[in-house]
């Protein structure tokens, strides 16, 4: 029964993950698992010093835990489900190595919890490192998702001759866009490490490390259902050996309540049927206390402050207006953004063009895994606005399409020394052709039409940088200059205030602007006129003789 619920929860998590695409309907909260996570919620609220609407969903989890106990870990948590499933796959028949110093290890998760929460209070979002929901979403985004695409495409390639023979046209022409990400390997190592730890004891992660489990265990002894052992118990200790959480003490009649996740494995394995989970308001004595030392608490307090201090003291954190990365449209101002973002990777998963990529050290320790745009890799699609829609903490604001269009992420800058037209007098106009906002115009300079960026029309989407045919680095790059980052309020109005205009006008002609130099001559060339060489006639629209 528990396994079914757990499996369904993992399926639901995966389904929401798959649904997080540009097609996501507005009513569907694809990020619901992340919203329900009270640790992520507290982390973001503390760090950002602001109540975040979506984080309030986590009160549901807290309330349910208060009422029932720490059921979340056994029934809901998709990380727990993944651990259980992979444990079953890999370690079912292995003899566990076991641990000797159990009690002190158990404290680790509380220390981590304190470190994370204190770090959050200093303004550093750090819980993402070990929060199970963030960790798993990240693992899905950076590893499972690209891998799944590769496997599916491989299968399609293999089956293609068959589909062709059967005349299945759609199937034989099917191919999925392969998303790729930086940090796939790092993410895999972290997740793999968590699974490998099961070799020591089952659910090693949940027992000793998970800070969300720690948070829930603090309040779980207040829950309604508690393990009770009746007098039929013959002290065979089968329950103790089988408890995945090590929640049963040397005396099998006693339960470490904070550790108990109510999976009821003990009740199932008991040969005497002596274990039940009745509703009870009592706080079961010595084992209901959280296993925590004062010294450890103080150390972890200090640790949290130290980490917060260290993260804040990277070269660029003091120069927030000089950061060099392009954030997704709608990202709140950089300082707040770093504090609020929980690095789940949901925006990068849902990004239609795959331009959103995780940062490594570009903005220091405090910017690990935060999303950035990589315009050389792909542009920001003008009709897509999903990244804000799926952001569980609204570090990227959920905006309407019009608002998103005005959330300028940067400005394109032409590097003339690399541009084929400026540096080599070649015929090239790809940047102007592809620009969705007519922000690149051609002006006659030294007898040639040369591309020029109109900063007031460029919203930094990056189509030009993506398409520039110069090999390697693009001759036109998007820089953060001019980006609009608002914590609240309308981007449309802000853009208007700044006299920006991202809507191309129909009569806006890039090749014959109204300036007088562009008057078109009327004469017609003779029949056998030779095709012109590379030098274009700057008096006519391109392509005409």
């Amino acid at each position: 029964m528990r396994k079914i619920i757990q499996g369904l929860s993992l399926l639901l998590f995966s389904a929401f993950f798959v649904l997080a695409t540009y097609k996501l309907p507005n009513w569907l909260p694809a990020d619901i698992y992340l919203r329900l996570d009270p640790l992520l919620g507290m982390n973001a609220v503390f760090a950002a010093r602001e109540i975040i609407g979506r984080a309030l969903w986590s009160l549901v989890t807290l309330g349910a835990t208060l009422a029932v106990g720490r059921f979340f870990c056994a029934y809901v948590c998709p990380m727990g489900a993944s651990i259980d499933f992979l444990d079953f796959l890999f370690f079912r028949k292995k003899k566990r190595l076991g641990l000797k110093t159990e009690t002190s290890l158990r404290r680790t998760k509380y220390f981590l919890l304190v470190i994370f929460l204190v770090a959050a209070l200093t303004g550093l979002s750090l819980a993402f490192l070990m929060d199970p929901m963030s960790l798993l979403t990240r693992f899905y985004t950076f590893f499972i998702y690209p891998l799944a695409l590769t496997v599916i495409n491989l299968l399609l390639d293999l089956l293609r001759p068959l589909f062709e023979a059967l005349g299945w046209v759609a199937a034989s022409h099917q191919h999925y866009f392969q998303s790729v990400y930086y940090m796939t390997a790092v993410t895999l190592l972290v997740f793999g490490g968590i699974i490998v730890l099961n070799r020591l004891v089952p659910r090693f992660w949940c027992r000793y490390l998970c800070p969300l489990g720690a948070l829930l265990s603090l309040i779980s002894p207040l829950g309604l259902f508690k393990r009770r052992v009746n007098e039929d118990c013959n002290e065979c200790l089968k329950c103790q050996r089988n408890c995945p959480m090590g929640a049963i003490s040397e005396d099998p009649r006693k339960t470490r309540l904070p550790e108990c996740i109510q999976c009821r494995t003990c009740a199932k394995v008991c040969p005497q049927d002596a274990v039940t989970f009745p509703a009870s308001f009592s706080l079961g004595g010595e084992y209901s206390k959280v296993d925590f030392s004062r010294r450890g608490f103080l150390y972890s307090l200090a640790g949290g402050v130290t980490v917060g201090f260290l993260a804040a003291r990277t070269p660029f954190s003091l120069l927030q207006s000089k950061h060099q990365i392009i954030r997704p449209p709608g990202a709140i101002p950089e300082t707040e953004f770093l504090r609020t973002c929980i690095r789940c990777g949901e925006c990068m998963k849902s990004c239609l063009t795959n331009t959103l990529q995780p940062s490594l050290w570009e903005s220091g320790f405090s910017g690990l895994w935060t999303p950035k745009m990589e315009p050389r890799l792909a542009p920001c699609e003008q009709n897509c606005y999903v990244c804000g829609k799926v952001c569980p903490t609204q570090a990227i604001r959920s905006l309407s399409l019009e608002e998103k269009t005005h959330a300028k992420v940067g400005t394109a800058v032409l590097r003339k020394e690399m541009c084929l037209v400026w540096a080599q007098n070649k015929l090239c106009l790809i940047c102007a052709e592809i620009c969705p906002y007519h922000a690149i115009v051609f002006r006659p300079v030294e007898g040639y039409r040369r591309p020029v960026v109109l900063a007031s029309k460029c919203n930094g989407c990056g189509y030009c940088e993506h398409r520039c045919p110069v090999q390697g680095e693009s001759a036109i790059v998007v820089v953060p200059n001019g980006e609009i980052r608002l914590r609240r309020g309308s981007y449309v109005q802000e853009a208007k205030k700044l006299q920006l205009d991202f809507k191309p006008h129909p009569d806006d002609d890039r090749f014959i602007p109204n300036e007088s130099e562009f008057k078109v001559g009327g004469e017609k060339k003779g029949e056998k006129a030779p095709l012109p060489a590379a030098k274009p006639d700057s008096q006519k629209p391109k392509g005409f003789l």
Binding site: H175, E381, N383, L420, L427, P469, P504, L531, G543, F544
Partner: protein
């Protein structure tokens, strides 16, 4: 009903059949035109009616698509734009031709393009997938993978030596090119000849390595659409190829077997960028003409005109 076109069609059918036999007997791989056959059918009217009439006037779809033959329709659906912006072929024009092909006995009609924008958005926003949804045997595809293309040598290419194009074209599918009339920032206009670049895998090199106008003419030597149906129900006369730009409404469908002639006529129907041009003034059309790919002077063409 004394519909003169009916008679023409029937007579034409017989002539075509006779011509087909003649071709078969003589083994000359070209269409032989009799007196009643037109170089171009230029029909003014609503998209569906005008398209139907244009197909009929150019000899009926059965002139091009025989029972059992598979067909590729190449509309322009390269941009994720709605039809009103005129950057893409009108979905109803595409659906009408697709339907006609199916009725002529084509077991499979592929509507395809190698899109510039993200494929799923293009299929969605252009309305072409939706319009063809209920026609059985018709598949609307955006091909974005190299595996769907194959290399072909260009023996007489001026700039191109070889090019990778959609496999089906090389596998004997009937090709009907269905461009939209629009301006183009690099080639002046983008009609049928330029639209064939949508069947090419590596288009970037056309822009960056070659003289694009000459490359288009070279491409025209290896991709020979049996029929070109130019959607000039709307024309994007500036801001092309992606738009937005000024959209005019010529309300025309222009069909013909000569790709240069169709384009050359298409150039003449509206002023581009506020200027009147002729086919000869379009560099890539002139290059195609000089390569012998078709006629460029429209006053020498035999034209069937009608308003429906």
């Amino acid at each position: 009903m004394s519909d003169p076109n009916q008679t023409i069609t029937r007579r034409k059918f017989l002539k075509t059949a006779a011509a087909g036999m003649a071709v078969g007997l003589i083994g000359v791989p070209s269409f032989s035109f009799s007196k009643e056959e037109y170089d171009l059918a230029i029909i003014s009217g609503e998209p569906v009616a005008a398209t139907k009439k244009a197909l009929e006037a150019i000899g009926g779809i059965s002139r091009f698509v025989k029972k059992g033959q598979r067909v590729v329709l190449k509309p322009n659906m390269s941009f994720a734009r709605t039809p009103d912006l005129s950057a893409t072929t009108h979905p109803l024009v595409v659906a009408t031709v697709a339907q006609a092909c199916v009725e002529a006995g084509a077991p499979q009609v592929l509507v395809l393009d190698h899109t510039l924008h993200r494929p799923e958005l293009c299929l969605e926003r252009t309305g072409i997938r939706e319009a063809c949804k209920n026609i059985s045997g018709v598949h609307v595809l955006a091909l974005q993978e190299r595996t769907f293309f194959r290399e072909v040598k260009i023996s007489k290419g001026e700039v191109l030596e070889s090019v990778e194009i959609v496999k089906e074209i090389l596998d004997g599918h009937i090709l009907i090119n269905m461009p939209v009339a629009k301006s183009h920032s690099a080639t002046g206009v983008s009609l049928g000849m330029k639209g064939l670049m949508g069947l090419v895998w590596d288009r970037e090199s056309f822009h960056s390595r070659f003289n694009i106008n000459q490359a288009i003419a070279d491409l025209g030597a290896v991709i020979r659409p049996q029929l070109t149906v130019l959607d000039a129900t709307r024309a994007l006369v500036s801001g092309g190829p992606g738009g937005p730009g000024e959209v005019k409404k010529p309300n025309l469908i222009i069909a013909g077997t000569d790709p240069v002639a169709v384009d050359s006529y298409g150039v003449s129907i509206v002023p581009w960028y506020g200027q009147n041009f002729k086919g000869r003034q379009v560099e890539h059309l002139l290059a195609a003409y000089q390569k012998g790919l078709g006629k460029i002077d429209i006053d020498q063409l035999k034209v069937f005109r009608e308003k429906v």
